[in-house]
Each structure stands twice: as C-alpha cells, then as structure tokens.
Amino acid sequence: MITIHHLPLAVRLDEIPVVSVEEAFACINQYLRVGQSRHVFHMVALPHTDGHRVITVLADDHTHSVSLTSCIVRTGNPVPSLTPSNAQMHIFERDLWERYGLEFTDHPWCKPVRFPVDSFHRKGIDDYPFFRLEGGESHEVGVGPIHAGVIEPGHFRFQCTGEDVVHLEIKLGYQHRDVEGELERARTLQRRSVLAESIAGDTTIGHAWAHAMAIEVLTEQQCDPITEHERVIALELERMAIHVGDLGALSLDVAWQLGSSYFGALRTPLINFFQLWCGNRFGKGLIRPGRNRFPLDEERRKAMRLMLAQFEKKFTLLANEMFSLPSVVARFEGTGVVTHDQVAAIGAVGMSARMSGLGRDIRRSHPHGSYRALDHVSVIEHGGDVLARAAVRRREVDASMRRIRIVLNELSEMSGSDAPTVPSTFTPNTLAISAVEAWRGEVVHVAVTDQDGQIQAYRIKDPSMHNWFALALAVRNNEISDFPICNKSFDLSYCGHDL
C-alpha cells in the first residue's frame, strides 16, 4: 500500500503496489478497521492482460493522507467480497460487477448500479431484482422514473404496510449518458471542461474544480493564489445557493408557502451573481484548468459584498422563522433518522455524514487550493433527522458567507500573475486524484493516463454514490408521506450517480 499526503496527487501507475487479491482485501479490511476516520475514496479497474487491475483508493481524515493498493482480478474467477465486513464497499463492488463482470462470491446485494451502455451483463433498465416482502399482504409503491415535480429520474420501490415503509430500494441509472466515456474520448481541454461542468449542473463548480485540479496535477501546473481564492468563493457561493434553494424546497414539501416563496427568492441573487460574474447562472464556463476565465474584479467584489449584506439580513429573518415555526419543526423533527452508526457503516460523506455527527469534510481532511491556508471548521449536527439536515444547511450558509467575506478581503490585497498555459497531453502512465468538498460532499475525480499521455480512464465519484444508501435507510420505518421531505433534505444527485 502506498500512502500519499495532500491532494490533489499524481502517482505513477507502477508505484502503486500490485498484490494478490487476498492480500489486497486483507489490507483494505485492516485499513478500514481503524474506524470512522477512514473510508473508501474510490475503486477503479483498469483493463489488464488477463483481467482487471483493481486500484482501491482509501482516505484517512486524521492524517490527511490517501492510500492506494491494487490487485489483479482475473475474469471469470470469483473473488471474496469486502461488503460483508465493510458495507461502504458495496456500491464499488457492484459497479465492478456490472461494468466488467467481476464476480464476488459473497456479495449480499449484487445488483445493477446504473445500467451503463457498456455494461458487461447487458441488462435492460427494467430488469432489476427488488427486495420484496413475501406473502401478498403488503404492497409496493413504485415512484419514478418520472416524478411529480421537475426533478431528475430515478425509481424508488417502497415495501409498505399501509402508510408505513418497511424498506426502500432505489434503482438509478436513467440519467446515464456515459460522461466518463465522453471524457476519455474528448481531445480538447474546452470539451473536457464543458463535460466536467455537465456532470451535475447543481455542482458545476465542484466538478469543474475537481476536474481542473486533476488536469493541473497531470500537467504539473500550478494556479496562482488569486485563482484559487476565486474558486473558493465560487464553491462557497454554489453551496449557499443550493442550500438556500433546498431550504425553500423543504418548505414547499411541507406546504409552508412563506418559506418556499422567500427562500426561492433568496436563491436568485446568489445565482444571479454568478450570471454577473461569468455570464451563466450556474457558473458554467468559469473554471478551466490553470485559470478562471472571468476575473472577480473590484467592481464585482463590491457588488458581491452588497448582495451578501442584503441577503444576510433577509436570510437570518426567514431562517429564524423556519426553525421556530411549530408546524414546520414538527414535520422535520424525528423524521428520516439515520443514526451515526449507520452513516459510518455505509461510508456517507459530506453533509449527509455531518448531519449525524460524522465530521467528514474534505476542506478539513484533505484541503485543496486556498483551503490549505484556511483553518476550516466543519458544521456538525447530531440529530440525523430532517431537522438536522436542514440545520446543517442553514449553518453552512452562514459559514460560507463568513468564508466568502474573509476571502474577498484577502483578494483585494493580492496581485495576480499570468495564467499558465496548460498543454493538452499529460504525464504518461500516471494516476491523478483530486477531491473537492462540494455542497453535497466529496467530489473525487480519478484520471489515468496511458503511455502516450492520453487519458485512458477517467472515473468520477459524486458524493451521491455513497449517500443514496443513507436515504434508503432514512425512510425505513417512516411514513411514506414523509419520503419527499427525506429525499429533499438529502437532495442527492441522480446524474452524478448515473454519470
């Protein structure tokens, strides 16, 4: 196992040790046994002469380090599964099973993940083995792929006894459009960047930054501090915008009109600032490898300070009302609880972990860019219910606002330098990992180059990969009518998961 401190990192493929399957799995088990400070970052398989080379990326939050190990899994040669001992591995193993046909002898839940176009099993999207209650007395409720609201497609299958949900299983894959494949096939930086911005439109900045960092590290380029600072502002602004929007959406789902209207209205100036800054309300087109295309000049900084001042006043008023209104709090409190143990077991990340007392935050554990210099303090709640998730959002909006103001002040005292020119070929035979704490949690991009310096594999992990399972657990033994607020309180990405 090779251990590297600080992200983003680039490591030569031959530096990653190749051990036997048993050894690798024992090693991973050993690593994860330490506890909640460690979790799996990603699992990537590369084609190998007689099978696949599976590279596992593990992260340690305390030591700010990332460890890699790899093993060769031969096709048609079943290997033991890590899932029974570490539930958080389930999604990665399912992905390997689905994509490459790797077989696991004792995986308890070996089911399709996203029905990709290049799937090994060539299964159609309507072929999914749901968990079921036998006996013909309970009933199922299937929601989706087309939901009632204007949201992305996914299918939720509830096992119900009347109004109570016994079990929820989530089937995704409808949004699959092969972004990873397109990123591997792309030949220009522009196309790559636009693709990265289109991984998940609500996390444009997060993914664009993670992608830019991966490319930067593969081309050994450094961004200047102004660029890094501006990216922090963009990322925190995105976080604020989404959190405010989601607080509005939560209000709508409990039919509190005042909240839904005015949180909705409060989101507008935030994303309109992106429009003023870079011409697009979601920050599309802003971040490119090595540079930001649109400077945050003095005039815009001034506009931003003004906007934030007005925003803060209204937001505080409205948020206070929300968290003190009995009819709203009654709906949130105790609804959709995911316990600390569950969150830790499934390896939840980001705010889905922080709402239940698990302080998983890349900005603190593996700081990138300007975050290295900023001593970040994570917002942590302990309830694990909808109220805790709403509270995390509210407090993170405040925290982001403070962060932006600090960075804005530092920015006005900095002077810039020319942006580096980023070449379109990369260091050969290298694996690059970058991670960004986007509003949902850690966005991890893994890029692997071949001997020609072209990208042979590009793997993206949206935090939703881990967190969808938290939603499934949240709904267990809850009322089915509370599902929408549970779902909205997590607000997970379908396209980020389906890619």
């Binding site: 299937g142 009632a148 789902d253 005042l258 009819s327 709203v328 709906r331 009518s481 929408p484």
Partner: protein, 304 residues
C-alpha cells in the same frame, strides 16, 4: 334558487381569491382571478387518455360526484330565501351527498390500480369518516338552539345577532364549519393541493389518472364544494331584515373573507404530518361537543 346562483357565481372566483391571496402573501403576481375558469374551459376542450386497467366506474365517478355536489347545493338556503329542495332533516342528506361523492371518487381511484391513488383513496376514506361526527354534532346543536331541522328553517331564524344566539356559539360553529370545509376540500393543514407529490397528497392524487372533460368536471365539483361551504358560512351572517342587495353583498363578502382566510392559512403554516391528521380532526369533534354543551346551557337544558 338564488342560493344556487350565488354558489355558482362564488364557485367562479373562490379558488381565484384563495390563489390571489396566496400570491400576494408569497410576494408574487400570481395567476388571475379566473385562471381556474380558464383551466376548466381548456379541459372541456381537450381529449382524454383512459387507462386500460380502468372500467366504467372510473368514467362514471366524476359525473356522479358532480351531481352529488350539485344536489347538495340545492339544499342550502340563502338567508330567508328557501333552498331549491328544502325538507326536514336535509342536513343528513347534505352530509351523505358529500359522502356519495367521496365514495365514487374512492372507487374510481382504486379502479386505476395505481398505488398512489389507492393511498389517496385510503386517506380520503378515513378523514371523511372522522370529520362527520363534528358536522352532525354542530348541526344537531344548532337544531336544538333553533328548534328547526332543515337548513332553510334553521337559517331563517339563526344568524349572528339573532336573539339568544351567543356570539361564542356562532364563532365556534363558524370555526368548525370552516375546518370541515378545509378538510372536505383537501386544503391545509390536512392536505395540500400545491405540493404535487404523489406520496403526500390526498385528493389530488386520487385524480392523477383523470383527464379531459372528466377532470374538468372534478375541478368544477371541487370549486362548487368550496362555494357550498362558503354559502353555509355566509348564512350565519344573513340578517332577514336586510334588503336583498345588502344580503348579496354580505354573502359575497363572507365568501371573499373565507377565501382570503384559506389563502392566509395556507401561506403561514405547514401541513400536518399524515399520522397527526386523525388527531387533528378529532379535536374538531371536541369543539363540536363544546358547542353542544354551550347550547344546552343556553337553552337551560343542562340539568346536572
């Protein structure tokens, strides 16, 4: 006759006022007063898609439901002007006509074989059942108070300010009827017509599969139901001595206030958790019982 006309006119703009109020309190311009009418006209012009799972029950239900509401309208008087079809104990018929409308809509929902509609149907059945005791206790109490048992006679003697009617009873009765109207019309805090989520709705989810003309008919029925309760509330305020034009103004005024109240309630609070609804509705029954005892005291009948 005049009552029916008033109900039809109120039905035209009632939902419009609710939505205008909500828009105003939500800081937006919002749809026009007659958007609801436009929506219905559009539906009457449209074709339909009918589920292959469904049967004649599904097609017939909106018609029966509409007629049931229409018949309920013929029982409501306008102040001292009698209703179209008044008879003794028409209060019972009123409640049962609403129940008929509910029964057929529940069957239509189950006819589609959709889990959401089953869910809505189930909820509608339970809440509809729970709300009835409150209705009967209130009108029974008013019958004790006035000695009359049909809407027409009841309201010809009963109105706020009529001799012997304490303000308390009127206020409580108006409160209970308002809440019943909100529950029957699937509004906050029991149900929310705007959430648009299959899993949380009651009434809206039952009509998920209806389209075209039938859907239009359902929308007409639900506005008429609102107007029906609106006129019921207005009747508390129609003094027999006043001239007709004044009565009309009062009736429309009460309906406008009612609609605005609905809009305001829906703006400033969240809806109940589903499992809290039965409790909420039963609270209504206890208020009704309170009215009953107040009436007993008022009529010197309470002998302990």
């Amino acid at each position: 006759m005049i009552a029916l006309v008033v109900i039809l006119v109120v039905a035209l703009f009632f939902i419009g006022i609710v939505n205008r109020t909500k828009s105003l309190l939500g800081g937006r311009v919002g749809p026009g007063l007659f958007q609801h009418v436009h929506d219905v006209v559009r539906l009457f012009r449209k074709g339909a898609v009918i589920s292959t799972t469904s049967s004649i029950v599904f097609r017939l239900a909106p018609t029966i439901s509409f007629v049931a509401i229409l018949m309920a309208c013929t029982l409501i008087p306008f102040g001292t002007q009698p209703a179209l079809l008044p008879f003794q104990y028409d209060v019972v018929a009123f409640a049962y006509l609403l129940a008929l409308s509910r029964f057929v809509m529940i069957l239509a929902a189950l006819d589609t074989g959709s889990p959401f509609e089953g869910m809505g149907a189930n909820r509608e059945g339970i809440y509809g059942m729970l709300v009835e005791p409150a209705f009967f206790v209130v009108f029974g109490s008013l019958a004790i108070l006035t000695g009359h048992t049909s809407f027409t006679e009841l309201f010809s003697t009963l109105h706020v300010g009529s001799g012997g009617v304490s303000i308390l009873i009127s206020v409580l009765a108006v409160y209970v009827i308002l809440q019943i109207a909100m529950i029957e019309s699937s509004r906050l805090p029991i149900d929310d017509p705007k959430t648009h989520l299959e899993l949380t709705m009651i009434h809206e989810v039952m009509i998920l599969d209806h389209s075209g003309f039938d859907l239009g008919l359902i929308m007409v029925s639900s506005s008429m139901k609102f107007a029906l309760f609106g006129l019921l509330l207005a009747n508390f305020h129609l003094t027999p001595s006043a001239p007709l034009w004044l009565l009309l103004i009062i009736a429309f005024g009460v309906n406008i206030v009612f609609a605005m109240t609905v809009g305001a309630i829906e703006s400033f609070r969240a809806r109940n958790r589903m499992k809290r609804n039965p409790q909420f509705i039963l609270t209504l029954t206890s208020v009704a019982v309170l009215i009953y005892f107040s009436v007993l005291i008022l009529t010197n009948k309470l002998v302990l």
